[in-house]
């Protein structure tokens, strides 16, 4: 599927399969095309080329209201002059459902979303989270089994987002819904999706299970976007086909890497939680702590290693150690290559490849 605005490919040749009852998160930075994608599926936008099939049938000729899709926006869009109950039952009333059915289904929704005690309230009297629950309940009440959620939690406080996402996921499981959920928040996607679709600049970059795209992504953009990482530029000194010795500003490390050539420019990626620090020792790279940030459950350190390399490392405070101080000398032990990934140096340069904007 493609969608073009003037010179800009909002969507460039995008193909995706979503299975019945799957919960798929589409993850990417602003402007990557994720909202355009689900608006095409909903029928709000028309693609310029390609097909959309729901249950095997093309929906091109089907108007929005007949596509039987539940849609939840970031900006809740409840009817301000209607009570919670009336908002929930709106979809059914519009379809001229029997009044007994309307009452039954609406009560079910109120119970499902745990807002029975607020049925007479008006939207402005509710918190952001409660309003969003009504919006979700309203979409579910229409009886759809396919749901498109466009940054449904985006307007909510961080702490509410972190709670509500699990409620959403459970609801989808309990009701057997198929969900496509768009978000820019990688923690949200990782924690609830069956599969994550990573997008950038109108294209799908990578698709996979949350653990796969975090632990072993194919793509450098994915590695950097889904969580934090240290990216070190280096050159391959030796290779035996499956393992490489890489030189990084005079330091050497051994990393798994298939199909690399001697002299090739590469990027070594290592996530902060896998950069172990110790008091100075014979092995490892020598460095100095430049910055310490206490994050509650973690200590975050910026370490400068010989050669001007800066590494970010994070350590759980549950380690019951006293932690390091600014100016302290340390050793960085990068011996265990199990957590390091090797990527080809990107043709268009590193900054452009991982750019978020």
């Amino acid at each position: 599927m493609s969608k073009i605005y003037g010179n800009i490919h909002a969507l460039a040749d995008v193909s995706l399969h979503v299975e019945d009852k799957e919960y798929v998160c589409i993850l990417g930075p602003s402007g990557c095309g994720k909202s355009t994608l689900i608006r095409c599926i909903a029928g709000i936008n028309k693609p310029d080329s390609g097909q959309i099939l729901i249950d095997g049938k093309s929906v091109e000729q089907t108007p929005i209201e007949d596509r039987r899709i539940g849609y939840v926006f970031q900006d809740v869009a409840l009817f301000p002059h209607m009570s919670v109950r009336d908002n929930l039952s709106y979809g059914l009333a519009v379809r001229h459902a029997e009044s007994t059915e309307i009452t039954t289904v609406t009560n079910e929704m109120l119970d499902l979303m745990n807002i029975r005690d607020r049925s007479k309230a008006y939207p402005r009297e509710l918190s952001g989270g409660a309003q969003q629950k009504v919006a979700v309940g309203r979409a579910i009440a229409t009886g759809s089994h396919l749901f498109l959620l466009d940054e449904p939690l985006g307007a909510l406080d961080a702490i509410v987002r972190a709670e509500l996402r699990y409620e959403l996921r459970k609801l989808a499981s309990d009701l057997g819904l198929t969900v496509i959920h768009v978000t820019h928040d990688q923690e949200e996607a990782l924690s609830i999706a069956d599969r994550v679709v990573v997008m950038k600049s109108g294209r799908i970059v990578e698709v996979g299970k949350p653990s796969d795209i975090y632990i072993a992504p194919q793509n450098l953009f994915t590695e950097n976007f889904v969580g934090e990482t240290n990216l070190l530029e280096g050159e391959v000194l030796e290779t035996n086909g499956s393992q490489c010795v890489v030189d990084i500003k005079g330091h050497r490390i051994r990393v798994s890497g298939f199909g690399k050539k001697v002299g090739q420019r590469v990027i070594v990626s290592i996530r902060p939680e896998f950069v172990p620090l110790t008091t100075p020792s014979e092995v490892g790279w020598k460095g100095v702590i430049k910055q310490v940030t206490f994050l509650g459950n973690l200590n975050r350190y910026v370490v400068e290693v010989d050669g001007g390399i800066e590494l970010i490392t994070e350590e759980s405070t549950a380690e019951y150690s006293t932690g390091f101080r600014v100016g302290e000398s340390v050793s960085v032990l990068l011996a265990n290559d199990a957590h390091m990934l090797l990527f080809d140096y990107p043709k268009e340069g590193l900054e452009k490849e991982i750019s978020l904007e």
Partner: protein, 368 residues
């Protein structure tokens, strides 16, 4: 002398009490993060400091002098709103130079100051661009540069990263702190995001419904939160209901509902007083082997959540309660599975005891 002081400041909007007799001091060069849910009064607090609102009661002091009747433009403070409000018809450089120009500085000085500020945020190369040609993240940096160039010693940041994508926020929050600290300004930064608050603030103030719930250095607020609301707001925790059974020396024995006994630090609360125990997720250890800790129970894994650099396990303990444990940087081989029986443990010192809240636990944890 504190740089900024609030003395019993109250602000009402009709019947709504946005801030209720709020008092606090901020010292020179401090980076204070005000954390609270939507509607807690944080923006009102900033606008009062900026001079965009007047208090209904109480006094605001800057360097010891009352400023209630001092206009916004005469206060030495700059307010950076959430919706950056860059001038759409001015270039980036002109936008940043606006502050010093408006204060009467000659154009040459204003432009020099602006250039330095743009250098700091690394956007000199976009000096001639118009705001609508820039991405959200870049606009945020321009707004920040404008604040830094203004020459005001007090920076008031209203959700400065709120309009940005999650991943960009991760990158910029540390850079923001560095920039502000380098400039030597005093900063008050408002947010609803506790990860952000912990990353940027020297000190954290937690607001709820117009009142200060806690205020102190971030390490203290995290390790010894003043209330259940604060413990939940910053860092999160599992909460168990119980009562104080006995105290033996430095240790209190807490009877948790459902027949569990927990060892906690001795408390001033009376015997049989109902309490809530709060347990931080990262201080709960799970193991397949024996644990040598003061509090160890059998548990069953009831849920696993993958969060990238960590996993959160939901564990049912013998009284039927579910507690959460966050395991960081775990290898796949060590990972626990739903249904698995494990040993769950935590140290006596990690059991935080709170008086049972008057309005009940649910009310205390409600953040909207």
């Amino acid at each position: 002398m504190p740089r900024v002081s609030f003395a019993n400041v109250t602000k009402n909007f009709g019947k709504v009490v946005a801030l209720d007799e709020v008092s606090f001091d901020v010292s020179d060069g401090q980076y204070l993060c005000v954390l609270g849910p939507t509607g807690s009064g944080k923006t009102t607090l900033l606008k009062l400091l900026a001079g965009l609102l007047k208090p209904d009661e109480g006094t605001i002091y800057f360097d010891g002098k009352p400023v209630n009747n001092v206009n916004a433009q005469d206060r030495n403070a700059v307010y950076v709103p959430q919706q950056y409000a860059l001038f759409p018809h001015l270039t980036v450089l002109q936008n940043v130079a606006f502050g010093p120009l408006a204060r009467g500085k000659p154009a040459s000085i204003a432009l020099e100051t602006a250039s330095k500020a743009l250098d700091l945020v690394r956007l000199s190369w976009r000096a001639q661009a118009l705001p609508n040609e820039l991405s959200g993240g870049m606009q945020q940096r321009v707004a920040l540069a404008r604040g830094l160039a203004s020459g005001a010693g007090l920076l008031l940041l209203d959700e400065p990263l709120g309009a940005l994508d999650a991943r960009l926020r991760l990158d910029l929050r540390h850079k923001l702190r560095d920039l502000v600290k380098q400039s030597g300004f005093t900063a008050i930064h408002v947010t609803h995001d506790q990860d952000e608050a912990m990353s940027v603030g020297d000190e954290i103030m937690v607001l709820r419904n117009g009142r200060i719930q806690d205020y102190g250095p971030q390490r203290r607020v995290y390790r010894r939160p003043a209330s259940i609301f604060v413990a939940n707001m910053i860092g999160g925790a599992s909460f168990l209901e119980g009562m104080v059974d006995t105290t033996v020396g430095e240790t209190a024995l807490i009877s948790v509902r459902g027949g569990l006994t927990v060892q906690a630090p001795s408390t001033t609360l009376t015997l049989t007083a109902p309490v809530i125990l709060a347990l931080r997720k990262e201080r709960i250890r799970i193991s397949r082997d024996r644990l040598e800790m003061e509090n160890v129970f059998k548990g069953e894994i009831r849920g696993v959540r993958f969060l990238g650099n960590s996993k959160e396990y939901l564990i049912r303990i013998p009284n039927g309660d579910i507690i959460a444990s966050r395991q960081f940087a775990e290898s796949e081989d060590d990972a626990f599975k739903v249904g698995e029986e494990v040993q769950v443990g935590f140290l006596e010192g990690d059991a935080m005891v709170f008086e049972y809240p008057a309005k009940g636990l649910r009310n205390e944890l409600e953040v909207g």
